[in-house]
């Protein structure tokens, strides 16, 4: 109590304000520091880490998790969560994939294929939008708690993907699709460009539109936003729609990189990692910096790549890969608790 009292007083003074400004950015600096340390660590310990090949491959991999994390963070910002993000991306990919396999004629010319490809992307986005809308209706209008609603739809959406594919992987896409997932523009992987663009777009949505403002207020105190004339239901609906569409983009990126679509891509790990990224970036209802999410995604990718390179050198490691990765993630949670928890309790 004593400490809290003095810090409140301090924020009222000028020096206090400067201090709190630095404190507000210190999260970003701290995350950036962690990123740099991990990067240097793996560059020194693993010979293959600091190579063009591994850096590029990271640039291709991380956007999937990155866009998924954006989808997750905006729901956490409103005091909710979206556990169905990964199930949504797979469903979007599966449906878009089936569309291509079923409808693109064998003798189609280049231009025609590109047209169908555009149609497939629209299908994916539409699927994401519909699944997000369904989540939003359940949460905003029926009043189901987000964790339950999206746990249920996660199962539902995965079930739909399994039903449509019979549990198999959909393949046989036109090679033009790989532009999205496996090519570079000026040396930069296209998925990474998409991720950066969506990060900026999300930032604009959350911090520079009336919708984002309302979403943050709703996260801070839903009763007060209701009493301030904010239409909570419609804001929640739009937030989950946005989350669904971002998830669908992830589905497109996965499809473009692997040239396949399946119900089981990334299951459980991706959802957990997306939540972990929001925790690392200190996203709480009403508050969160999108830049922090971006850096947290980079951290997780560096960690994941470095960790797998390390394990590749250990014999029989494939047997305890999941185990070791699980332990590592829990260690991150604990480390985060000690660094963050301490400070916020004070």
């Amino acid at each position: 109590m004593t400490i809290r009292d003095t810090s409140d007083k301090a924020t009222n003074s000028v020096s206090g304000r400067v201090l709190s400004r630095i404190r507000a950015h210190s999260d970003t600096l701290q995350l950036f520091g962690v990123l740099v340390v991990l990067f240097i660590f793996f560059s020194v310990t693993e010979d293959k880490f600091l190579t063009t090949r591994s850096i590029t491959s990271m640039g291709f991999q991380l956007p999937e998790l990155g866009v998924l994390s954006l989808a997750m963070m905006i729901t956490i910002l409103t005091g909710g969560i979206d556990l169905s993000v990964n199930a949504t991306s797979n469903m979007a990919a599966v449906l878009a994939g089936l569309f291509m396999v079923k409808f693109i004629p064998k003798e189609a010319g280049e231009a025609q294929i590109v047209l169908y490809l555009g149609g497939a992307l629209l299908v994916a986005l539409l699927v994401g939008w519909i699944s997000g809308t369904f989540n939003g209706l359940l949460i905003g209008y029926v009043g189901v708690p987000p964790i339950l609603a999206t746990l249920a739809t996660m199962t539902l959406y995965t079930g739909i993907s399994v039903g449509l594919t019979g549990g198999t992987t959909v393949t046989g896409f036109p090679k033009q699709l790989s532009v999205i997932g496996a090519q570079t523009l000026g040396g930069i992987p296209i998925p990474f460009i998409v991720f950066v663009a969506l990060t900026i777009l999300t930032h604009i949505f959350i911090y520079h539109t009336a919708f984002g403002f309302k979403a943050r207020m709703l996260g801070s105190n839903p009763t007060a936003s209701d009493f301030s004339g904010v239409n909570n239901r419609s804001v929640l609906l739009k937030v989950y729609m946005f989350s669904g569409v971002l998830s669908a983009v992830t589905g497109i990126l996965i499809m473009g990189r692997t040239m396949s679509a399946a119900y089981e891509y990334g299951t459980t790990t991706y959802v957990l990692l997306a939540i972990l990224i929001s925790v690392l970036a200190n996203i709480i209802p009403g508050f969160g910096r999108i830049l922090d999410v971006f850096i947290a995604v980079l951290i997780l990718q560096v960690l994941s790549t470095g960790f797998h390179m390390f394990l590749a050198g250990v014999r029989g490691s494939s047997f305890f890969k999941d185990f070791a990765w699980g332990v590592l993630l829990i260690l991150i949670f604990i480390a985060n608790y000690f660094i963050r928890g301490r400070r916020y309790q004070g």
């Binding site: 004593t2 007060a224 936003s225 004339g229």
Partner: protein, 504 residues
């Protein structure tokens, strides 16, 4: 004078650069009710925490029962018989009355098994101490606040209290429950206990105090026998300003104008029945009644939270269908809720954002992006207009005092320039000085042409702001007071009459 059992001498306490207490002395005698009065931030809470051992003073000495303490620990304070009853009572909501009363003794005995016979005996003994009866098997969370408070008092007595400190004990009580609490306090006094009653409700202080101590800005400004001390003097000591009710200027109601709001036979099941009234431009219409009289339900109905079952609402002569808060906002109705922390504020968010949340859809550029310049201008404008005291609109709303938080909630709706503003308990938990300022603000807003519905059971507040007052009882409007009929006695008599007719 009776024997002195506690004396705190020249106590000073600093938090960072702020002096909370500046060489203040306080003594409590056996068998007296000492009232400690002061505005928010005057140092009264700090003093309570020092004499109960929560804070260590920077300077000064504490003497209890003749023992000298330089540093008092909470355990020593309890051992010396000092018990604090905080506003939340620290009870176990899911346990029964008997369990709550007996739990400390049960824990202290170190027994592993539960002896129900003993629990009931302890509980009965406790109830007998203050001569009240409560259902022993009732789960505490189902009881009204007043009963929970009694349980907290009994627990304090069983812990062998000699001094009971009550921190704002009447905040959540009705008039009748306050009287019941006062009877208990007098009973305790006769048993030789001392009470330190901390409050800023001056009418209650006048009624219960043997001695009154007033703090202002960390200093003691008054310490004397309560007899002969009137509310005006106390208010002056608390605020350092003279509150003059005779000089109040009421706006001129536009009697000739068409009513801003006309309500006809409005009914909400389990809320209110057949309510009809009119509100003119520039008028402040008071709606009073006890808790449960339907006054809050009526307000929520007009604001679209609890849409009425039947009846009609006309705004500026046109029928208004208010089925949701967005409807109400569109018709130009604003609402300042009773529970400002839960319903009115985004405590962690910047003050400025709290103010402009009702305007946000208008503060966009052509590209539908937020116009941050307009945002800041609007926020600053209303913060200035409603005199919210803050160094910056970027600080979180929780950094403000109660009175200033209330101004922010007011600003939020005033910024939308509503035609009709509903205020539900606008000064609950606000200290005397800010209260007078908020009252003046309400009168000024009415003067600018707004129609204001003021829901309150604070009689002085109604007198200082309202042109007319409607009294509600059991969901119906039972009496209307015109300006010239409004006196403290008349209102009090009617409210008390309500209390007796509402009694179960």
């Amino acid at each position: 004078m009776a024997e002195e059992i506690l004396r705190a001498e020249h106590i000073s306490k600093r938090f960072g650069g702020v002096i909370a207490l500046d060489a203040v002395s306080l003594s409590i005698h056996k068998g007296e009710t000492c009232c400690l009065v002061g505005e928010n931030g005057s140092g009264k809470s700090t003093m309570i925490k020092i004499i109960s051992g929560v804070y260590t003073p920077d300077e000064g000495d504490i003497y209890i029962n003749g023992h000298h303490y330089k540093r008092l620990t909470p355990i020593e304070a309890i051992r010396e018989g000092i018990q604090v009853i905080y506003q939340d009572f620290s009870l176990f909501p899911n346990l029964t009355v008997a369990e709550n009363i007996a739990i400390n003794e049960q824990l202290a005995s170190g027994k592993q098994s539960v002896n129900w016979k003993e629990i009931y005996e302890i509980a009965k003994e406790g109830l007998a101490k203050i001569n009240v009866s409560l259902p022993l098997d009732a789960v505490v969370e189902t009881l009204p606040t007043a009963d929970r408070q009694l349980i907290a008092i009994i627990k304090a007595l069983l812990a062998k209290a000699r001094i009971i400190i009550m921190d704002e004990p009447t905040t959540a009580l009705t008039q009748r429950e306050v009287q019941a609490l006062f009877r208990v306090i007098n009973e305790l006094k006769e048993q030789g206990l001392s009470i330190l009653f901390v409050s800023h409700k001056l009418n209650e202080v006048v009624e219960i105090a043997d001695r009154t101590v007033i703090f202002r800005n960390g200093q003691k400004v008054l310490d004397q026998e309560a007899r002969g001390l009137d509310i005006g003097t106390m208010a002056f000591c608390m605020t350092g300003r003279k509150l003059d009710t005779s000089a109040i200027v009421f706006s001129e109601v536009e009697e000739a104008a068409a009513p801003l709001l006309r309500v006809e036979n409005l009914t909400l099941a389990h809320g209110f029945f057949d309510v009809s009234f009119e509100l003119k431009p520039k008028e402040v219409l008071g709606i009073t009644g006890l808790l449960g009289s339907g006054r809050t339900e009526l307000a929520l109905s007009l604001f679209g939270v609890l849409p009425a079952d039947s009846g009609r609402i006309y705004i500026e002569g046109n029928e208004a269908k208010i089925r949701s808060i967005s409807d109400a906002a569109r018709y130009g109705v604003g609402y300042v809720p009773e529970d400002r922390v839960r319903e009115g504020l985004f405590l962690e968010q910047p003050i400025g954002d709290n103010v402009i949340v009702t305007l946000i859809d208008r503060l966009v550029t052509k590209l539908r992006l937020l116009n941050s310049k307009a945002k800041k201008e609007e926020a600053d404008r209303w913060i200035k207009q409603l005199e919210v005291k803050t160094p910056s609109g970027e600080l979180p709303a929780k950094s403000l005092s109660g009175g200033n938080q209330q101004r922010v909630v007011l600003a939020k709706w005033v910024a939308r320039s509503p035609k009709i503003l509903i205020l539900n308990g606008p000064t609950v938990g606000v200290d005397v000085g800010s209260k007078a300022e908020i009252h003046e603000l309400i009168r000024n807003l009415a003067g600018q042409g707004m129609g204001i519905l003021l829901i309150s059971d604070d009689i002085p507040e109604l007198i200082q702001t309202c042109h007319r007052i409607l009294l509600m009882r059991a969901g119906r409007i039972v009496k209307e007071f015109q300006r010239e009929e409004i006196t403290e006695q008349a209102l009090n008599a009617e409210l008390v009459a309500s209390a007796t007719t509402n009694a179960p």
